[in-house]
């Protein structure tokens, strides 16, 4: 999928999103991520949102559902350097403090 690259780095499963996260794409994203979660061993999930140009409430719903799922397995989920567009949508729905947001990959290593 053009809009998602998945990498496993030091036991952290990185989901590198790009482009738009909207209704059209969330079903495909879910499938790809579920497959990776079944195949890989990891302690933490990192959703890299730096290259996301647009995100609406379907995108929010998708991230909330992913977060619930990860928490249910006792693992941690982080959002990495969300773009201003993503931050804007989070702020609108007052979820800026709901997720753990990291500003850079260095922050991840220091956890």
């Amino acid at each position: 999928m053009d809009s998602l690259r998945i990498e496993n780095k030091d036991n952290a499963l990185h989901l590198v999103f790009s482009g738009e996260i909207t209704l059209e794409i969330t079903t495909d994203l879910k499938k790809a991520i579920e497959k990776a979660m079944a195949d890989e061993t990891f302690d933490a999930l990192v959703a890299d949102l730096a290259q996301v140009t647009f995100m609406d409430s379907s995108g929010i719903g998708f991230l909330v559902a992913l977060n619930t799922k990860i928490m249910g397995t006792g693992k941690k989920m982080y959002l990495l350097s969300p773009s201003t567009q993503v931050r804007k949508t989070f702020e609108l729905v007052q979820l800026s403090n709901f997720f753990t947001i990291l500003d850079s990959e260095e922050d991840l290593l220091q956890l």
Binding site: T22, L23, D56, S57, V64, T68, K88
Partner: protein, 142 residues
């Protein structure tokens, strides 16, 4: 006052194309990038609602976007469907719980809008979003 009416079948692909066509009109009207992003987001929410909810349990019907430019004051976006309408009208608009997967679309629209309303007219259900445009945010008017 200038109006543009855009109309298609409420399937996901065509609806997204229609929304982008509406954004092309807005992009030649409004210069401010943040305001354009707000329109894009509000439009995306309104169209997604028609695609997902308006025709639940029946054959998918049509989607209509009306962009009305009230230069130099504001722009109104209206998104209409011919479905049975909202479960409750007027719709009570509030934010969802943090853990909820859905229920944020109408709230986002109302937050972005300077004036937000839903109404029934001519057999359509219409969501109406008005956003004020500052003097410096317009593309100079021809």
């Amino acid at each position: 006052m200038t109006s543009f009416v855009l109309h298609t079948h409420a399937d996901p692909g065509p609806s997204r194309k229609l929304a982008r066509a509406a954004m092309s009109i807005l992009g030649e009207t409004v210069a401010d990038k943040d305001v354009l992003y707000n329109f894009d987001l509000a439009l995306s929410e309104a169209c997604a609602n028609v695609v997902r909810h308006a025709y639940e349990g029946m054959d998918q019907g049509d989607l209509e976007i009306t962009v009305t430019i009230h230069h130099p004051d504001f722009v109104t976006l209206e998104v209409a469907d011919w479905g049975p309408g909202f479960p409750t009208m007027p719709q009570d608009v509030k934010n969802a719980q943090p853990e909820a997967e859905g229920g944020r679309g109408l709230f986002i629209m109302s937050e972005l809008a300077d004036s937000f309303s839903t109404r029934k007219q001519d057999g359509k259900h219409i969501v109406s979003i008005t956003i004020n445009i500052g003097a410096s945010q317009w593309i100079p008017y021809e």
